[in-house]
């Protein structure tokens, strides 16, 4: 069974699933409202309040939707016994997860195309100020977030035995990487034995948190890296440099590949243990 067959099946199931459409509606309503809620200043130039607000709103909502859709998609297969049937075909868990990943990405990116397209049309109709660069920036930002978070969602799905575990795992990761991340960082890192350790530790941890990594990199790419202060001068230099995008893509791909292979590996093992 080929990866593409799994992907096609995923796309078909996805677009026939009412959940997809409820998330689509939620995402669209929310994108439209935040783009309409502007302070009367054209968002043509870089990093402003509206850019910051929209980025944060996207960070709150999109990873959660992605994590739930993705982890459920795998957990359901296990719970409903589809996987038991499918595994009689010669297909590895890795291939299955890659297929799922391609399928889910197609669905999520389509949802983002739909909601940003609709939001763009509506802002024009309402005569609101929005520059095309800003819209493209938001769209790319969301797409990258979705692509990375889908792989984490699949990892959660691969680890979960049923929907409930997937739900808890998804919400847990969302809560950890988005909601309490700052609190966690500030409260733990300020107790490090040496002050000098804070910055390198925070940098490493930021790379390990896709939401923060994508956010920080995006802000640096729109030329607003100086907002992070003097300590991150070097980061700004590489992020805005010619290899910045390559390194960024490399780390994102690293995230995706690691999540899927770890997920596939653990799933394999638990399958074998289950049969034994």
């Amino acid at each position: 069974m080929r990866i593409l067959t799994v992907a096609q099946r995923e796309i078909k199931l996805g677009f026939r699933n009412s959940w997809t459409y409820s998330f689509l509606a939620l995402l669209s309503i929310f994108t439209i409202t935040i783009l309409l809620l502007q302070s009367g200043v054209a968002t043509t130039e870089g990093y402003t309040d509206i850019t910051g607000t929209v980025m944060n709103m996207i960070l709150y909502l999109l990873p959660l939707i992605t994590l739930l859709l993705g982890s459920f998609s795998v957990a359901v297969e296990k719970e409903d016994g589809h996987w038991g049937l499918l595994s009689t075909y010669p297909i590895s868990t890795y291939r299955f997860l890659w297929g799922k990943w391609i399928g889910l990405i197609t669905i999520l990116l389509t949802m983002l195309l739909f909601s940003f397209g609709l939001a763009g049309i509506i802002t024009v109709l309402f005569n609101q100020q929005l520059s095309i660069d800003t819209l493209i920036f938001f769209w790319l930002f969301s797409s990258i977030l979705a692509i990375v978070y889908v792989s984490i969602a699949l990892l959660i799905g691969a680890l979960a035995k049923n929907r409930w575990q997937a739900l808890i795992g998804g919400i847990g990761i969302w809560f950890l990487t988005i909601v309490i991340w700052s609190l966690l960082m500030i409260s733990t890192l300020s107790h490090l034995p040496s002050y000098k350790m804070i910055q390198p530790t925070l940098q490493v941890l930021t790379i390990l948190n896709p939401a923060e990594f994508v956010r920080v990199f995006s802000i640096m790419r729109i030329g607003a890296g100086s907002a992070f202060g003097a300590d991150y001068d070097q980061w700004i230099t590489w992020a805005t440099g010619s290899y910045g995008v390559v390194i960024f893509c490399g780390i994102c791909i690293g995230w995706i590949v690691a999540s899927i292979y770890i997920g596939g590996f653990i799933w394999n093992r638990s399958d074998k243990n289950g049969r034994a």
Binding site: R16, T44, D49, Y60, V124, S131, W181, I186, A227, G229
Partner: protein, 432 residues
């Protein structure tokens, strides 16, 4: 006998040399030396390589073809007298001497006008020179030199009552640097691509109006001054450096800052250890941080417009500043009495600032979604917050909303996104 021969020989030599010398054109220095007070020396087109010293009240007038090439560390033109006029000349400093100045002024009541200077060192230096007027001057530094090795465009030291206007300065350290100098008037200047646009140190009663400062590390740095008037200046796009500021007031007293346009900077207005300043009618827009206080007291900030800043304001150790009656773009007010003043107070949480002050590395969490959640969660004492008790509901400034003219393009782009998504959904559902 020997002496007679020598003097004879000398006079013969002198006799031979005189006619040849008079045939050649006189050097500028010679012309200056021979001139009397009030004379005008008109320079003919050409390149000059001699350093000159002006020690009497004369006029030195060039035209578009007059270029001085500076090759030593001495000032190209040194003015040691009063009432000197220098007009329409170009100075090109080719040397690597960082300390060299194209023009050095030590006298009073001099006029420098229509000059064009390119330099690796200082442009124009005023050292204990009063009542001079510098206008219509272009100074360009070397773009490839790092900021730390550049020098100031115009540098004033202990020089009072000078007027600097209509200058265009770029690629230098500080475009206009004024230290220990009083009653200076700086207006209609343009400073860019330098460290600081305008830098005041320990000055009194400086007036700085209608100037522009953009794409510098910082727009305008006002430090240790008294009675500064900064009005109608435009400080924009000073944001690329991690230290960038639009306007800094450090240890400043009794300054009046009004009607300035401060946009797209890293920090719009930074007020540190300053007191009794009046900041009003400024447009503070699209900065990462709009207004920041640190150890500032008894300043009055009113009738300013704060819009589209990522963070509107931050305050620390700055309890008794008055920040009422400003317009905040993100404030959704409520007006019961119909006086266009909101009955709800506007507050800015200082949590981020407190944390990052103690641990600067946490600045990486700037505007992180969890940070906003934290600010809502944690209660900070009311006296540490930046509060506007009576925020305005309408901007006190005549804000023209700039219209983006790519609306059609935006529409087409959005429509194509939307259309592609519909096709994918349709194909997805239809598939076998």
């Amino acid at each position: 006998m020997k002496r007679i021969i020598t003097s004879l020989l000398f006079s013969v030599l002198l006799f031979i040399s005189i006619p040849t010398h008079t045939l050649a054109e006189k050097s500028i220095q010679q012309q200056i030396d021979e001139a009397t007070i009030g004379d005008t020396i008109i320079l003919t087109d050409g390149q000059y390589e001699e350093n000159i010293v002006i020690d009497k009240a004369i006029k030195l007038i060039g035209n578009d073809g007059v270029t001085f090439i500076q090759q030593t560390s001495e000032p190209m033109i040194s003015v040691q007298a009063n009432d000197v006029v220098i007009e329409r000349i170009k100075i090109h400093n080719k040397t690597d001497y960082e300390d060299s100045a194209a023009i050095l002024l030590n006298g009073n009541n001099n006029v420098l006008k229509n000059l064009e200077i390119t330099t690796n060192g200082y442009g124009i230096k005023l050292d204990q020179a009063d009542n001079n007027e510098l206008s219509h001057i272009t100074i360009t530094g070397n773009e490839d030199t790092p900021l730390s090795k550049r020098q100031h465009g115009i540098d004033l030291w202990k020089s009072h009552h000078n007027e600097i206007h209509h200058t265009y300065i770029k690629h230098v350290k500080d475009a206009i640097y004024i230290e220990h100098s009083n009653e200076t008037s700086v207006h209609h200047n343009d400073a860019s691509h330098s460290r600081y646009g305008y830098h005041l140190m320990f000055t009194k009663n400086t007036t700085i109006e209608h100037n522009e400062s953009y794409e510098n590390v910082s727009g305008m740095m006002i430090m240790g001054t008294n009675g500064t008037n900064a009005n109608h200046n435009s400080l924009k796009h000073n944001q690329k450096n991690v230290q960038s500021l639009g306007l800094l007031l450090f240890d400043v007293e009794d300054a009046t800052i009004t009607n300035n346009d401060i946009s797209n900077n890293r920090v719009g207005i930074f007020v540190e250890s300053a007191s009794h300043n009046d900041i009003s009618m400024n447009n503070v827009q699209s900065n990462y941080i709009g207004l920041q206080f640190k150890g500032a007291k008894s300043n009055v900030i009113h009738h300013n417009s704060f819009t589209a800043n990522v963070v509107q304001g931050q305050a620390e150790d700055s309890s008794n500043n008055i920040t009422n009656e400003n317009y905040w773009g993100d404030h959704f007010g409520f007006d019961l009495t119909g006086d266009n003043v909101s009955d709800l107070t506007y507050e800015v949480h200082p949590f981020y600032l407190i944390v990052t002050n103690e641990y600067p590395p946490f600045q990486l969490l700037f505007q992180s979604p969890g940070m906003i959640f934290l600010e809502q969660l944690l209660h900070t004492p009311i006296e540490e917050r930046l509060i506007d008790q009576s925020p305005l509901l309408k901007s006190p400034l005549h804000n023209e909303i700039s219209h983006t003219d790519h609306q059609m393009l935006l529409f087409l782009f959005s429509f194509s996104l939307f259309f592609i998504s519909l096709i994918i959904i349709f194909m997805g559902v239809k598939k076998r």
